[in-house]
Assembly symmetry: C2
Homo-oligomer: 335 residues x 2
């Protein structure tokens, strides 16, 4: 039986992805695309902790695509235990950032391999293979890139803000330290330049904390603008709220309306289409961009696959529509 | 009720100690002496593994004195889990050296603190305090000191020989890399020079692998020779066999008889008396040194305390006997 045309298309897809929310869509995409999917992952949340190099978004993507992520807790590994943390507390160690016993293997081994000279890219590719992940998982850069939250409590490294202070300080500005000198990896460039590329997706991750740091790496926005294939974003906003995480709070603090209009404005010139939740249909035609309506709340696996299908379908329709056209903000339309 | 004289003596005791066997006696001594005991611990088994600084003997002593050691397994912590190792294996990490989840906290935190500039001594003192250990636990040195086993398979770092190769290669020679430039710590010197010191004990650890590296640190043998208090060793040999570990095998390979005579010869000039097992009484009078017979097999806590009492008693008797005498090999005697 031949599948629907958006599935039988043999082209490749690149998805730019942050942590939990983005990884859910990546899992749906992996089910449809397998090795034809490349997930390019934010590393600006990475930090040094207890002498270990920790890559929270890469881990979330690897655990999610490897079928190892915890569904209840919403982060980290399933079947996790916390004896390391308990023992660390006994001897007065820092316990503000929870590290599971199984999760520790990732941090210790990746730190060791980086210190021995391997790149984050090479390590990620190898671990994805060992986890049996069919899709490609790539960090956006092998260079140091750090999200700095300029807040009412001063400058905070991302994890200090996100985990240490539970997003409580009001955000005044967000900076990406190291972005100017960071470089897209050869592997990311190859994925974006692939002849059989069909679609680039911006996952429904936090635009300001998870997608923007990747856009801040020189070359990313140029690649998106010049792409011969559609670029589609999935809005992380449903009914004026973020599904998860501090997106809504941050938008408020930055003086932005928590609306799809604002998300469309934020990505203007970079994307060809925006997927917004079906419940937000009102006014969708006026966003000044092609819009596709779909249920964007991902709970069980089927809803992740369904949203992935919508993204592929939308991408196909945009490709057909704009064959031979210059990529420019269009008048819009809702599908 | 006033206890026996060897317990009511308020003087201090220094015990030089390796891993498991020595730590058992240290636990017995702690019960009798509390803060009047200083355990000086071998660090020549220390090694870097997975980017972590691991101090196996210090950990064994800290876990044992802190009541955290596993009784069945014989090493490591009780209530230990192994999920870190399992996850490490999944991603292709090195698994020849087992690291428990709780145990990992010690390695990660100590590595972090050392890299931040703290000495092994300061870290050990702090962790002992956090474990509620009443006695003093001190590494012999803060400098790098490594036992190298010159074997039929070439030069092996201690843990590679001991754990990695399970003591299988025949030992041709044992060297202590870094010994010449290592320094006794101020804390160890203070313990050995204390005015109220009453006894120095060489624990029933492997003389060649655990005690010798401490004796190789410049100043140790001089301190023992010049000590104004008795130095007593407990033989690790019972009936021509070592209780545990490779002592017997190594003695064979080095062409040494696995006898108390050989142990006495090995420590000649450094010790004033040797405690040997009651079952080895035959010929004890001919060892050329003061000998005390006691059950040296330590199983449950009571046997550890009992052997510790013997050591203190023996020390007292030697002190009385040799008041005002020069420390020289004596004609001997058995108590």
């Amino acid at each position: 039986m031949k599948g629907p045309s958006h599935l039988s298309d043999e082209g490749r897809v690149v998805a730019l992805c942050g942590g939990v929310g983005g990884a859910k869509l990546a899992l749906g995409l992996q089910h449809l695309l397998g090795e034809r999917l490349t997930v390019v992952v934010n590393v600006a949340d990475d930090f040094e902790h207890l002498g270990l190099h920790i890559s929270p978004d890469l881990d979330t993507v690897l655990y999610t695509l490897g079928g190892l992520s915890d569904q209840q807790r919403g982060w980290g590994r399933s079947d996790e235990t916390w004896n390391f943390m308990e023992a660390l507390k006994e001897i007065g160690g820092q316990t503000w950032f929870s590290l599971g016993d199984r999760d520790m293997a990732m941090h210790v081994e990746r730190t060791r391999r980086r210190l021995s000279g391997e790149t984050l890219t090479a390590i990620s590719i190898d671990i994805a293979r060992r986890f049996g992940i069919r899709s490609n998982v790539l960090p956006i850069t092998n260079n140091k890139l750090s999200t700095i939250v300029v807040s009412t409590e001063g400058e905070l490294e991302f994890q200090r803000y996100f985990v240490g202070r539970r997003c409580e300080p009001a955000v005044k500005q967000i900076r990406f330290r190291g972005a100017e000198s960071a470089r897209l990896t050869q592997e990311v460039l190859q994925a974006l330049d692939a002849d059989d590329l069909r679609l680039i997706i911006l996952c429904p991750s936090n635009p300001y904390l998870s997608i923007d740091p990747m856009l801040a790496v020189p070359g990313t926005t140029e690649k998106l603008r010049a792409a011969r294939v559609p670029v589609v974003a999935i809005s992380p906003i449903i009914g004026g709220q973020a599904i998860k995480g501090p997106t809504r709070k941050i938008m408020d603090e930055l003086g932005l309306e928590a609306t799809n209009r604002e998300i469309a404005r934020h990505y203007a010139g970079l994307i060809d289409g925006l997927i917004i939740d079906t419940t937000d249909a009102e006014g969708a035609a006026d966003l000044g961009i092609d819009v596709h309506l779909a249920p964007t709340l991902m709970t069980e696996l089927q809803s992740k696959i369904a949203l992935a299908e919508h993204a592929l379908m939308f991408g196909n329709s945009l490709r057909t529509k704009r064959k031979g056209q210059e990529k420019e903000p269009l008048s819009g339309g809702v599908s």
